[in-house]
């Protein structure tokens, strides 16, 4: 491990948090296998990225939940061949937004086409599934889906609070 010269460390101490954030790379990427436990790595990546950019905890929580839902949907429903696949995640921050782009090569699936769940049903009639997409749509400021060739691309955008 190489330590920065003392003068550099001192200079960076006087920089504002804003300047430090501006120096952090504005995007990061990760490719993980389509296994449910890999969602932890996605979640850790978002934690690190959010900390580097000084993002508000509530904004990060909304994105954590949305990513959890999106990733679980892909792992549980996108593939029927039993073969290993790779899910690609890109996080980006800029212009007051946090964005996550999730790409998979599974079956075409447009989450925006899924009907909203009936939230008025009583306890014993409530389906135990089908809420994930509702959470994604509600927690994000914008959700876009595109089928590109043999890939699904889901773009989740969260407008950052001040």
């Amino acid at each position: 491990m190489t330590l920065p010269p003392a003068t550099t460390a001192k200079a960076s101490d006087t920089r504002s948090a804003k300047a430090r954030r501006a120096r952090a790379p504005s995007r990061t990427e990760l490719a993980v296998p389509n296994r449910i436990e890999e969602v932890e790595r996605v979640s850790d990546l978002l934690d690190e990225f959010g900390a580097k950019h000084g993002l508000a905890k509530d904004d990060l929580t909304d994105m954590q939940v949305a990513l959890d839902e999106a990733f679980a949907n892909i792992v549980n429903s996108a593939y029927s061949d039993g073969d290993p696949h790779e899910i690609h995640i890109c996080l980006a921050v800029g212009r007051g937004t946090l964005r996550a782009v999730i790409e998979d090569d599974g079956m075409p699936f447009d989450p925006l086409a899924v009907a909203a769940p009936d939230l008025s049903l009583p306890l014993h009639e409530r389906p135990v599934g089908g809420l994930g997409i509702h959470f994604i749509k509600s927690l994000m400021s914008d959700v876009k889906y595109k089928r590109i060739g043999d890939r699904n691309r889901l773009t989740l955008t969260k407008l950052l609070s001040e």
């Binding site: 009583p122 135990v128 599934g129 809420l131 927690l139």
Partner: protein, 114 residues
Amino acid sequence: MARLDLHEESVDGVAILGVRGRVDTTTAPQFGARLTEIFQDGSRGLVLDLHELEYISSAGFRELLLAARRADKVARRLILCSIPGKVQQIFDIGGFVDLFSIAASRDEALNAAR
């Protein structure tokens, strides 16, 4: 730090499960298994103390729904308490507020569960 930490205690025969961290796709099975275990013991009611819950995704709500149904079936009280603001928002979005018994504080929950 573990993603999910479950801490159990008993007060006057009421089981209290403290839920700290994240109940998501990977930790929900652990959460559900513990709820099932607790319902198998002899406690009268169960209080879920959520004040250290960071967030819960639909995988976690699935376990909560199943637990609430189980509680109903065996006539046991299941009370959720001390839900943080951010988590409350997720409960609202999911339409869960009327589905569960929710108390503002742990004391209030304990009184209701006895």
